[in-house]
């Protein structure tokens, strides 16, 4: 299978993400330049972390206008697998592929640290290698990761099991302290209703090798690879 990693001006986890899928998982992978109109036959598109266009406006607000986003949107609407990590998640929200919005972290500081996530829904292309309730240790690094949506929207997310990952403590409990950025309903990873687009604030590419302190992020990439191979 083939991964396409989108490069916006200001993306800074593009190399890390490519390294994870190409070198660690030994999959075919290529960068996709934001000004192009070519997905180069990718089976899965990843919008990586970073500060697209500097994020001087709202995170992701300008990146959504990049020429390539037209193709990404069409790809997603046809059921293609799209993963947005951190800034990529923010871009997916701005693109309207995922519902809701991000606010500043509750302590109004940038946060870079390992967090614990609980898999809430394992029947997705992104988590099927895991089991429900499984706790993953994966780092975050963001200023705007405080997820918000309105009450009606939240009900819908819950009804469709769209909140795929939640911030918990090490034991898997939903504590106030574990919800480091203040996200609504501890939302760390959110899927669209059709189940082919996932946005997540934690960085699985930073937790895919033992030398980096955790291999739990592998589960996300492994799930995608398994899913694509079986479809």
């Amino acid at each position: 299978m083939k991964f396409g990693v989108v490069v916006f001006p200001g993306s800074n986890c593009d190399n890390d993400t490519l390294h994870a899928v190409r070198d660690v998982f030994e999959q075919e992978a290529e960068f996709l330049w934001h000004k192009d109109h070519d997905l180069k036959g990718s089976d899965c598109i990843i919008l990586p972390g970073g500060f697209s266009y500097g994020d001087y406006l709202r995170s992701g607000a300008i990146a959504r206008f990049s020429p390539l986003m037209q193709e990404v949107k069409e790809f997603a609407l046809k059921g293609g697998i799209v993963l947005g990590i951190c800034n990529g998640f923010q871009v997916l929200l701005e693109l309207g592929l995922l519902p809701g919005a991000m606010m500043r972290n509750k302590n109004l500081k940038f946060l870079c640290q390992h967090v614990y996530l609980r898999i809430e829904n394992k029947d997705t292309p992104f988590t099927q290698a895991g089991h429900e309730g499984q706790v993953l240790r994966i780092p975050i690094a963001h200023f705007d990761g405080n997820y918000y949506t309105d009450r009606k929207g939240l009900k819908e997310l819950e009804r469709n099991q769209q909140i795929v990952l939640r911030y918990t403590n090490e034991e898997g409990y939903l504590t106030e302290e574990a919800n480091v950025n203040g996200s609504l309903d501890h939302c760390a990873g959110l899927m669209n209703k059709a189940g082919n687009v996932l946005g997540m604030m934690p960085h699985p590419e930073r937790a895919s090798e033992a030398i980096l302190g955790s291999r739990d992020g592998r589960l996300i990439f492994q799930s995608i690879i398994n899913y694509i191979h079986h479809t």
Binding site: P9, G10, N12, C13, N15, D16, H19, A20, D23, K35, G49, G50, F51, Y53, G54, D55, Y56, K109, F110, L111, C112, Q113, P139, A141, F143, H203, E205, R206, E209, I211, L212, G213
Partner: protein, 740 residues
């Protein structure tokens, strides 16, 4: 000439030049300079750019070695690390701007050091900062610290370089003069290094990056004078950073370099267009001719003086062959950046600047860059000398537990997570050790090897005994590297001092440099560059002399690297080195007893080196589970930090044997000591290594349980639940920043 301003004594003074210096300028150019030319000289001859007061002493530093590719004098130092790669690194201060405008001051400090690295062809792979603040109970110091940390985070996080650590110290002397020293390490291929040289007559001179504005005019001159009551008026002198532009600039520069389109390149940092044009020409023995009307400008009506002196950020000067100009411009256009031809390389060694069709500058570049007078300024030790304090006059603690917990709340010792978690320290996925370890460890992808980096500099030591303090700064940095299993390969230093025109400050400087030089010689590591920051005085008060040593080390096998935390219960805790009767200059005296007095710990550099060798050999033979150096707070703080850094707040009990007073034994900061843990079966092997290198080694106790216990000669001194100590240590800094 368009600027007919008469240059009088007042103008000369405003440009921070002496009358003698002005006379020399007239002699060198054979006439009166105009105002723009005066501005150019004032910048390039400022202390910040010319090193005129420090040169004579900096010569004492060892700068050569078989792996040195580039020593001092370029944008950054370069060390050959083998397998076709080089390490490019440098530290630089941004103290003055960070006081005036903490966020932008610190942010642009990071931006400047990043450009120094990538202008040489290296991709920055890690950054660190050495920060010094005044006491946090003063609100102004909290706001400075908050601004500085956010500024560093704001710039580094967006650019995408991991801020992997550094050090933060607190002292009254930094209350009106915080220090922000930014370090960066980059990796480059050995055959793709670029220098600041304008070679090849008629080659094109290209201006790339952001447009020029009026920001930062006189930044370098500002950094070369004391601050008086006019602090607020200096705010417009601080530049504003744009990390997004810098990231684009990085990618575009590396791309044109990779395609072989660049002859020479220099970043426009301090002294902007002035510095880059004159230095590039002087380095190559050529001249440069530029037309200011072609310089991209973001403000209208800028004068030649303003354009030449602007310190707008995120700009570079590139020299390229004529037939490659178009390809350079294509790459920059891809990254949405300007790349404009503003002139050409000329013969004759002169800087020729045109504006509105007229010549506005016509001066020899050599006189600007190389002929600034150097001063051997007067120096003398302080009178009266620093107070010595005898241990016998210090009362012993009544309650050791209470004193110990208090010591853990000293912000210098306390947990710095409040700082580090605002920095993205994991981007680029090479960070093998999180901030808090003795040294940061960075893997090199596809290799077994790793790079380790550390910053160090205890200014209380250098204040009380500058020479010993200088030696200790190097020794401790090397010890930090030894603790993770790294051998030092190169040094960069940032020397922060007060006004060099004061003899006692100059004496501190000379003593510190000589101490640093001696230690670098003993450890056989070259100094490849750095920065001197004088005039760290505000309202007549000087900071403590503060050398910051950035040392890069190499780990041969990353899988053998060792971190400081205890690993398992039942391990033996072993001390490498000796406890001595030293309590002077300690954090315990400063924070608990409020005394900045006494003798700095004495150091035997040969012994220190042997201690490192024991640790390195033991790590190489995979005999150690953890290693942590003993520094601020002494043995007790070192041991409890190993507990805090264990996965489970694992306790330990130390059963010490000593004739020393317990307070000296627990909190004294004797050098050349490392605390390691080992399993029973390796004890003999480690002791044999210690014996081989003639280093004292003693079993102090074992790991395990959830309390931290210390006894001396079978008498219990204190015990405390690790969690209780941990909370005191962890909460100390956040407590100051709680919204009340």
């Amino acid at each position: 000439m368009s600027e007919k301003t008469i240059i009088d004594e007042q103008t000369i003074k405003e440009h921070n030049l002496t009358l003698d210096e002005y006379a020399l300028i007239q002699e060198l150019i054979g006439r009166e300079p105009n105002l723009t030319e005066l501005g150019i000289f004032s910048l390039m001859w400022s202390e910040h750019c010319s090193y005129k007061s420090s040169k004579v002493h900096l010569k004492k530093l060892p700068v050569t070695g078989k792996n040195v590719i580039q020593g001092p004098g370029e944008n950054a130092g370069i060390i050959d690390i083998g397998e076709g790669l080089v390490a490019v690194f440098k530290i630089e201060s941004h103290n003055h701007p960070s006081f005036i405008e903490p966020y932008q001051g610190a942010a642009t400090g990071v931006g400047g050091i990043l450009r120094d690295i990538f202008t040489m062809g290296a991709r920055p792979i890690a950054a660190m900062n050495s920060l010094r603040f005044g006491p946090l109970d003063i609100p102004k110091n909290r706001s400075i610290m908050d601004g500085v940390v956010s500024g560093i985070a704001g710039y580094g996080n967006s650019f995408g370089v991991p801020m992997v650590g550094g050090d933060v110290y607190f002292n009254d002397c930094y209350s009106l003069n915080p220090l922000v020293n930014a370090f960066c390490l980059g990796l480059a291929e050995k055959d793709k290094i670029f220098y600041a040289r304008a070679e090849g007559f008629d080659n094109a001179v290209l201006y790339v990056g952001s447009k020029t504005g009026r920001d930062g005019i006189h930044g370098a001159t500002m950094a070369s004078a004391e601050f008086g009551e006019d602090l607020e008026e200096k705010r417009p002198n601080v530049q504003v950073g744009d990390p997004f532009k810098e990231k684009l600039l990085l990618e575009a520069c590396l791309e044109v370099m990779d395609q072989g389109l660049v002859v020479g390149i220099q970043d426009m940092g301090a002294a902007g267009l002035t510095c880059s044009t004159t230095e590039m020409a002087a380095n190559a023995g050529t001249g440069i001719e530029i037309d200011l009307d072609l310089v991209p400008q973001r403000e209208e009506g800028m004068t030649p003086y303003e354009i030449m002196l602007s310190e707008s950020q995120e700009r570079m000067l590139i020299v390229a062959e004529e037939d490659k100009v178009e390809r350079v411009q294509e790459v920059f256009a891809k990254w949405d950046l300007d790349a404009v031809r503003i002139g050409r390389v000329t013969e004759g060694g002169r800087l020729h600047v045109k504006w509105h069709g007229e010549t506005v500058v016509e001066i020899p570049v050599d006189s600007v860059v190389n002929l600034c007078p150097a001063y051997n300024r007067e120096y003398s030790p302080p009178s009266p000398p620093q107070p010595i304090i005898e241990n016998t006059t210090i009362s012993t603690p009544q309650n050791y537990k209470e004193v110990f917990l208090k010591l853990l709340t000293s912000p210098t010792i306390a947990n710095k997570e409040w700082v580090f978690r605002q920095y993205d320290h994991m981007v680029q996925t090479n960070t093998a050790f999180l901030p808090g370890a003795d040294a940061s460890l960075l893997r090199i992808k596809d290799q077994k090897r790793a790079l380790a980096i550390t910053l160090d500099g205890n200014s209380l030591y250098t204040y009380l005994e500058p020479r010993s303090g200088g030696k200790i700064a190097v020794a401790e940095a090397c010890r930090n590297l030894a603790c993770v299993g790294a051998t030092p390969i190169g040094v960069t230093n940032c020397l922060n001092f007060g006004n060099p025109e004061k003899p006692e400050i100059m004496w501190q400087f000379k003593e510190v440099v000589e101490g640093v030089a001696e230690a670098c010689q003993t450890f056989d590591i070259p100094v490849t560059g750095g920065n001197v920051s004088f005039y760290n005085d505000t309202k007549g008060v000087s900071i403590h002399p503060t050398p910051v040593l950035g040392i890069v080390g190499m780990v041969d096998d990353i899988d053998k690297a060792v971190s400081p935390g205890f690993k398992e219960e039942g391990h033996i805790i072993l001390l490498l080195g000796e406890n001595k009767d030293e309590l002077g200059a300690s954090e315990y005296l400063r924070w608990v007893l409020r005394e900045e007095k006494g003798r700095t710990p004495q150091i035997d550099l040969d012994y220190e080196k042997r201690v490192h060798q024991v640790c390195l050999d033991a790590i190489d033979q995979e005999l150690l589970f953890s290693a942590h150096d003993i520094s601020e707070g002494g043995l007790a703080v070192c041991a409890v930090e190993c507990a805090f850094l264990s996965p489970t707040n694992m306790g330990c009990s130390l059963d010490l044997r000593s004739d020393l007073r317990p307070d000296v034994l627990l909190f004294g900061e004797t050098q050349s000591r490392i605390l390691v843990t080992i399993s029973d079966k390796n004890l003999e092997a480690v002791l044999a290594l210690a014996e081989k290198h003639k280093v004292t080694a003693a079993v102090l106790g074992t790991t395990g349980g959830d309390t931290f216990k210390i006894s001396v000669n079978d008498l219990s001194i204190f015990e405390v639940p690790v969690l209780e100590a941990y909370n005191a240590w962890k909460q100390a800094i956040p407590e100051y920043f709680k919204v009340r």
